[in-house]
């Protein structure tokens, strides 16, 4: 089929329209979510001023200052708009628990969480993709059975339970790894992150393994694989070609992986007492430090929305078949 310039232009236009619809849909969802997150402050049990005062004494001056600081005398929609405007410029107010601005608090803990999730993601990828490929290629073999079992346990086992088991084995039986905390920076911190990262990587790896295995199994049944084999291509080469096509659904699963990562990070950091965003969230929730909870919730929602959008785009740009189908509609 030859594509005329006109057809190409209309294809590009409908592709553009589809992108706009996706982006607008994402923004819409985020706006609704921001309203819910904002209203948390007003819906939380107890008196709003007392909640915002935290442990400080409630003198009339302090109450007046709080009312002015949070614009509590303005109508609700104005409060929301001011809050949203501030949030968009990175100003989420003050943490009543840590007596610092929310952006400072988050900034100081972002590093640990980023390092932990990065390390876990790397570990999971390095183990799960080859294992997934092998388990699909040798479907039914012992390696496949092992991988499937590993996948089920990895998907089912809660992060904290795995973490505690590892903690027990490596901290008390074979004391190679440190038990708690984040160390003193640099290599020491990395050393402290190994156990939590393995803990997180188990669940992540299980998801990636499942995605890889399913995608590879589907690709291996296609005609081009049969044809490649019939032409005498070595197995290795055929598998690499199949993996390239299987990569598409794996990339699309990125938001699934990220969703797991968020909950998993909270649990892993709590289990190993790491001062990251996860423990920050847990502490803030239990202390009802609502400004921090609001900021973290929005941050996660925006990150996930962006990654999901990028994964969708990657899907469209990686796979010409999808591109043709989407723009044909």
């Amino acid at each position: 089929m030859t594509i005329t310039p006109i057809a190409r232009a209309s294809q590009a236009r409908s592709l553009g329209r589809m992108l706009v619809v996706r982006v607008l849909g994402t923004i819409g969802i985020l706006l609704v979510l921001s309203i819910i997150v904002f209203s948390m402050l007003h819906l939380a049990p107890g008196d709003i001023v007392k909640n915002l005062l935290g442990n400080r004494a409630s003198s009339p001056e302090a109450i007046a200052a709080i009312r002015a600081q949070y614009n509590l005398d303005q109508p609700l929609y104005m409060q929301y708009l001011i809050w949203l405007g501030n949030a968009l410029t990175g100003d989420f107010g003050q943490s009543i628990r840590l007596q610092d601005s929310v952006s400072n608090v988050i900034g100081s803990r972002l590093g640990i969480t980023a390092a932990l999730s990065g390390l876990a993601f790397l570990l999971a990828l390095v183990v799960a993709v080859p294992l997934g490929v092998q388990s699909a290629v040798r479907s039914g073999s012992w390696i496949d059975r092992f991988a499937t079992g590993f996948g089920i346990v990895g998907l089912s086992a809660p992060t904290f339970a795995v973490g505690l088991l590892l903690l027990y084995v490596f901290a008390f039986y074979v004391p190679i790894f440190p038990v708690y905390g984040a160390g003193d920076g640099g290599l020491d911190t990395l050393w402290h992150l190994v156990l939590p990262a393995i803990t997180l990587a188990l669940g992540l790896g299980a998801i990636i393994l499942k995605l890889t295995r399913t995608a590879m199994l589907r690709e291996l049944e296609t005609d081009y694989v049969t044809f490649g084999r019939a032409r005498g291509l070595p197995d290795r080469q055929v598998h690499l070609i199949a993996l390239r096509n299987a990569a598409i659904p794996i990339v699309t699963g990125a938001s699934l992986v990220l969703t797991f990562l968020v909950g998993g990070t909270v649990l892993a950091e709590t289990t190993f007492a790491l001062p990251g965003l996860g423990t920050l969230l847990q502490g803030s929730v239990l202390f009802k430090d609502i400004a921090v909870v609001q900021a973290l919730t929005l941050l996660v929602a925006v990150t996930i929305a962006i990654i999901a959008l990028l994964a969708d785009l990657a899907y469209i740009f990686l796979d010409p078949r999808i591109r043709a189908k989407e723009s044909a509609q």
Partner: protein
Amino acid sequence: MSSTEAIVLAKLPRSRRRHPVAVWLSLALLGLVAFLVLFGNLIAPDATAQSILDSLLPPGSPGHLLGTDELGRDVLDLTIAGAASALVGPVCVALGSMLLGILLGTVAGYLRGPIDFIIGRWTDLLFSLPLLLAAIVVAGVFGAGYWMTVLLLILLFSPSDIRIVRAGVMEQAARPFVEAAQMLSLSKARIMFTQVLPNVWSLVITNSMLNVAFALVAFSSLSFLGVGVAPGTADWGRQLTDGRAIMIDNPAAVLVPALLIIGVASAANLVGDWLGQNLTRTGRS
């Protein structure tokens, strides 16, 4: 088994017929735990009774097979009694989410139009946040108790049920028997719930079994973080939080509930997968 099913089965790769031994073991474990849920309070009536004299005994102590925790509570009794708290919630979550999924999914998938649009945006919204994060934030900030947490998780679990039922109903709605029912001028509600829905059951049951596994994980995660289950309750997740500090003195206080959570969740997952492969062959497109 019909002959077409036998052919389909024969054509499946060997690995997709999961080893039945694992399934039987899983069912046995689930049965044992169900027994503990039902009769745990009779076997260990005073599990949360504290005793200073018996504080922190190691496993194998006389009278305390798994030892005691720092409050002198017997770990074995706690674990037996904790099964109810750890499992009743998740099962209720799976059932509630199934009900919501059937109701909204069938309506959205059969009627389509504006109702479908609204339900669709609703599931989009619920999907936009990770389930565990939403649960921690809402249950934590509002100080939700056990049953409020169950309701919250039902809400958060329902989108997957809604989408699965909706997809199944949409597939069925295009079939001739639905057209026939419409020609007999049966009411829409009757077609939806007596004609279409029975064909989607296998999907629903499979997903609910998987939901039990994930709800167990979510529930115990929440109680581990100190949300949803009151301190002092006999609950597996809670045992892990409390037991972390005494891991050296009595490892059983942590290892036994941890392994039980992992085991039960894996078993429910395995049975769910197995049901999925044996029930839904006709339902899935």
